[in-house]
Symmetry: C2
Subunit: 335 residues, 2 copies
């Protein structure tokens, strides 16, 4: 069985869509048990009782627009997010899922669950849209604006374990985001990271990857600091949006409109491919437990996907396997 | 009259397409005089003689794949690029245009023309594709992997003058590329730069701009360091390419193919909008003269656009106006 702590109060459509998402996931995955953190009355009104569901009443939440999420986490230890993360810390749950605010999630994970011993930084790692034949992982996209080469190496190791155990990619190929493909390109940080990645037995290193190759590179994992990763990820979003606007403006004659109608499935499929609901949430790599941050705008379907993402990471035992690499004293051999 | 030094030997299709590009530009702009640096025999065979054309024989060139362009520039002072830039340095020409290798161009401009006195860094500044109603300038896209806040301020000042004098935008709006829209976001560098831009009388500062707003922001100019700018620019390219590939793969039924044919103008227009030939070359801001780096793959039409870009910058007198801001001793009041 996999036991997940779910923040019912976080997200633009919480609590109802989140509760529906839990129901969808419970129906689909028989090995799933949940502890739900939120307003007990609302939850029990909308979710059928089940021995696989436990409810902890904590109706307070961190607002999506909260200016000082870290302060709020320190001040109020009774929000649904904090309580869910405490359950992970206390090993009552194997992982947690929230659609609450990103910075609040990262901060709470740091403060409550804490990093894996020996792990120097955490990273937010979403999947990029499935263009060019595969879903690629991009990290960090914003947990840390700055990361040093040794941090990037650890994060590449973690992402490699994740891709292998959860996605079944035997030797995930890791690329370093850079401004040129040849070795020696980039800032000091990229040059140092290139060396470390190239010489690490736990990483199958491809080399540098430029922005223009982001959807054509054979890599499964793309590594960079949180500032650059955030820029790259959001630029993808910006271009996709601009393409949509461009098409809308240009389809301005009856002939083009008929063409559009005949091609409608293509555009629908494109929209679906780019949708965060399909992609799932962002993983938070590096804390001592599984944390998935679902998109703030998650509906029930999207949230159920995020729950499954956390479930698969628990089943893949990625945290224990990362601990083995770090050698944090657990003495487990990497299989 | 505007007198430009043209590197005839640089670019994937040099020298013939470059010569044709010069001819196109000469036909179009009666105020244009050129000094052509390259193989005299080939040039005079392909270009009609004119009192507005002067040819300097220097057939050597810096290869597009040259691993050590800086070394090559130091070793051989007789390449067409070096000679063209010497003409700018010696005030024989008002500006230079080349389709040669980017890093070689930046290095040669530094070594030969040199920076404007008081200007701390140079920047490569292309225009982004005209999506969302306007062409926006993005800088730096790779002249410097790292830039400090005071460098970014100077570059914002330069770009503002350029946008005003060359594009006729009275008060160009400047945005700082960042990972969040609120003040206080980003690395120390962004926080410091935000303060400087906000308080500078020569810059009309908008605030932070996220990657997802790159084609919807009201800004005319987007400022960032050369590493981030290069990532953002090339990611745009990568997404556009991926969209094209996606469409090609998805148009796989007769119905969709007919739809595609009816919409063909829309896709053609999209391709044209994204094409570097339409956008022109990248400006090199900060050296003591006008330098335009045309795309390596420039054909005659693209190169003639790059020539016009340099011509307009000369007519806009942007270098002199930047000197006035820096207060480099010329004592000119900013108009």
């Amino acid at each position: 069985m996999v036991k997940l702590a779910i923040d019912i109060m976080g997200g633009d459509y919480a609590p109802l869509e989140i509760i529906k998402g839990v129901e969808l996931a419970m129906d689909k995955y028989a090995d799933l048990e949940v502890i739900l953190f939120g307003d007990e009355k609302i939850i029990s009104e909308h979710l059928p009782a089940s021995p696989r569901v436990q409810i902890i009443h904590c109706p307070d939440k961190i607002d999506m627009g909260e200016k000082d999420p870290i302060g709020e986490i320190r001040r109020n230890r009774n929000t649904s997010l904090v309580r869910a993360f405490q359950a992970v810390r206390d090993k009552e749950a194997d992982g947690a899922v929230t659609a609450g605010p990103t910075q609040g999630t990262v901060a709470a994970a740091h403060l409550i669950i804490r990093r894996i011993k020996g792990m120097k930084r955490v990273a937010l790692c979403p999947q990029l849209p499935k263009l060019g034949g595969k879903n690629r992982f991009l990290l960090d996209v914003g947990a840390n604006t700055e990361l040093r080469s040794e941090h990037l190496l650890q994060l590449a190791q973690y992402a490699s374990i994740y891709a292998r155990e959860v996605k079944g990619i035997e030797k995930p190929l890791v690329g370093l985001m850079n401004i040129g493909s040849e070795p020696g390109k980039g800032r000091e940080q990229e040059k140092e990271t290139f060396e470390l990645l190239q010489n690490d037995p736990n990483v199958n290193f491809y080399g540098n990857v430029e922005g223009k190759e982001i959807f054509s590179t054979p890599c499964d994992i793309l590594i960079t600091d949180g500032f650059t990763g955030n820029m790259v990820m959001k630029t993808c979003e910006g271009v996709a949006k601009a393409v949509g606007t461009f098409l809308k403006e240009e389809i301005n004659t009856p002939k083009k409109k008929i063409g559009y109608l005949l091609m409608k499935d293509v555009f629908k499929n494109f929209k679906k491919t780019m949708s965060p609901d399909e992609i799932g949430g962002a993983n938070l790599f590096g804390v001592d437990g599984i944390v998935v941050k679902a998109h703030g705008s998650s509906d029930a379907y999207a949230f159920s996907n995020a729950i499954n993402q956390a479930r698969l990471a628990v089943l893949g035992d990625v945290v224990r396997k990362m601990k083995a690499i770090i050698g944090s004293g657990e003495g487990i051999e990497l299989d």
